[in-house]
Subunit: 137 residues, 2 copies
């Protein structure tokens, strides 16, 4: 079993990170550790850590004009919760186990994510939740 | 500012907790700390802790037949991510601050939740996310 160690982050898709930070940073008071462009994923991400080193992050994700799938998500569902990311020890072992168990995995090989190497599980295999499994870099 | 301390839990609405545990417990390998009925909220909840005492939980929530609002959610959107819960030090202070800042709050007074006292912020005030602020019991 993949036996995830912790929730690494919960991702929220937003139209405009600066506008979203008016609430999450200025009203709620969560200080971003970093706001950066991730060109490989065609997104801009604000990392909002909570709970210290053992804690989890909220990630605000703003798709760039070119990110077709996230823009479709925004058009269809609007802003909101997008996925949960769970940290695992070994992403290759997790991928093999998920495939062996017949879990619908969106990746044939681990992909390079902002925080390490990851695979995504289709919501139809996880009770409607898009689930990322991540081996941190 | 409310300055949340940590992510307490991420809630997933499911039709049948036992079916959902086939994936989250048996395939992924997250051991529930408890599965219990919460009659005051007309739900059954499986608590899936991750990351030890400083970590966060996934909560699988199955509405009972009587829980009208969650059943509407299931009919309209199907199973999936429902809300994020952030722990705060003082729920009364957080409620006052949210109201003062014009944040749309769903509660006039803190409500009794499974884990303590809580208020909910309407998704229109939090970029499409239903956000729970919780003072733990």
């Amino acid at each position: 079993m993949a036996k995830p160690k912790r929730i690494d982050h919960v991702a929220i898709i937003v139209r405009d990170i600066e506008q979203a930070l008016c609430f999450y940073r200025d009203t709620l008071g969560i200080e971003p550790s970093e706001v950066k462009d991730v060109p490989s994923e065609q997104v801009r991400i604000a990392f909002l850590p909570l709970g210290g080193p053992a804690g989890s992050e909220i990630e605000l994700i703003e798709p760039t004009a070119e990110n077709a799938s996230l823009n479709r998500f925004l058009e269809k569902r609007g802003e909101g919760l997008h996925h949960i990311c769970l940290e695992v020890e070994n992403i290759e072992a997790a991928l093999t186990e998920m495939k062996d168990q017949g879990v619908p995995v969106l990746d044939e090989q681990p992909r390079i994510a902002a925080e390490g190497r990851a695979i995504f599980i289709h919501p139809k295999g996880a009770n409607g939740v898009l689930l990322e499994l991540l081996e941190k870099a």
